[in-house]
């Protein structure tokens, strides 16, 4: 039982992600998550505004079940499986973030500076989340996939567009952490 409550090393997580991909394909579907953003738009009635969303979402009901599972799994993990959210970060990372004004670095999964009460009281906190979300939704659809679809499925099936997309993911992520985070904090 001890294993369940300890953090899992990369060599446990990596293979289990590959197992998830395997099962997804074995069940007859392509592994990926960002198409759900489109499906949810369609369900909300976006087809009335744009033909792009005139799709039969019932054909993707399996993916919506997967999404419901993700939410349930997140709830189970946070409530029962992770008694201690401490992360063994590189001391340099801790120092850098502390210098930027982050408190309790690595003592929880999500920093209060982005996921804390600021979103209720400051426009800045709210804007950080909503704009990030817009970039995630727009970017994954424009690129045709996310980390699951491109980085895992696309790279492992040796598709060139996925390599380009992953290069893009890292360009964006590096700009965000090296330039934007120091700028907004």
């Amino acid at each position: 039982m001890d294993f369940i409550f300890q953090p899992w090393a990369w060599y446990i997580g990596g293979p289990l992600i590959a197992l998830s991909l395997f099962l997804y394909f074995y069940f007859g579907r392509d592994f990926g998550a960002s198409t759900n953003f489109e499906t949810l738009c369609t369900m909300a009635g976006a087809g009335k505004v744009s033909d792009y969303f005139k799709k039969d979402w019932k054909q993707r009901d399996f993916a919506l079940m997967f999404v419901v599972g993700l939410i349930i799994g997140g709830f189970i993990s946070s409530s029962y499986l992770i008694p201690n959210q401490t992360i063994d970060l590189n001391p340099k990372t801790v120092q850098e973030l502390t210098d930027l004004g982050f408190a309790n670095v690595g003592n929880q999964y999500f920093p209060n500076e982005i996921f804390g009460d600021d979103i209720y009281t400051s426009l800045k906190g709210f804007l950080i989340l909503i704009i990030s979300g817009v970039l995630i939704g727009f970017g994954t659809r424009y690129a045709g996939g996310c980390t699951s679809g491109h980085a895992i499925t696309g790279l492992s099936s040796l598709q060139l567009p996925s390599l380009l997309a992953v290069i893009g993911f890292f360009i964006g992520g590096i700009i965000a952490t090296w330039l934007i985070i120091p700028l907004i904090f």
Partner: protein, 137 residues
């Protein structure tokens, strides 16, 4: 309820991402700063093993549950769309630490912030749908 297997797979995948810390904002920050091997190990390990699995699919050694050959759909091509779209996604990913599957997992950890990110993502996908025909590929 033929889709119940996807529900269970979703729960399993969420637990894997949560327990291996692959949904933690700090882990992505560390990765983009090249200060830890952890996330590279997770993604790299997943890709290498998946590549072997893909070969087994391709050779027909493993068929799907209905006995059909497994062929991953080809990704849409386009240099500008994949690089530029990828970069925009990376900006949001780097700042918020959330991507398409984890954003749903994070709902179980930080309900309201994750819902705001999700609302943004739906808005982003909606904007893409509106202007997709006018964008360069």
């Amino acid at each position: 309820m033929k889709n119940i297997k996807f529900l269970i797979l979703g729960i399993f995948f969420a637990i894997v991402l949560s327990k291996s810390q692959a949904i933690s904002w700090y882990r992505f920050y560390e990765m983009f700063k090249f200060q830890s091997f952890h996330m590279f190990g997770i993604i790299g390990g997943a890709v290498v093993i998946s590549a072997i699995i893909m070969q087994l699919f391709k050779s027909g050694k493993i068929k799907d549950i209905n006995g059909n050959k497994i062929v991953p759909k080809p990704k849409k091509k386009g240099f500008v769309s994949t690089i530029f779209g990828g970069t925009l996604f990376g900006l949001g990913w780097g700042v918020s630490g959330a991507c398409a599957a984890p954003v749903f997992v994070i709902i179980g950890f930080k309900l309201v912030p994750a819902l705001i990110i999700l609302a943004g993502a739906l808005l982003g996908a909606f904007i893409y749908g509106l202007i997709s025909k006018k964008l360069p590929n």
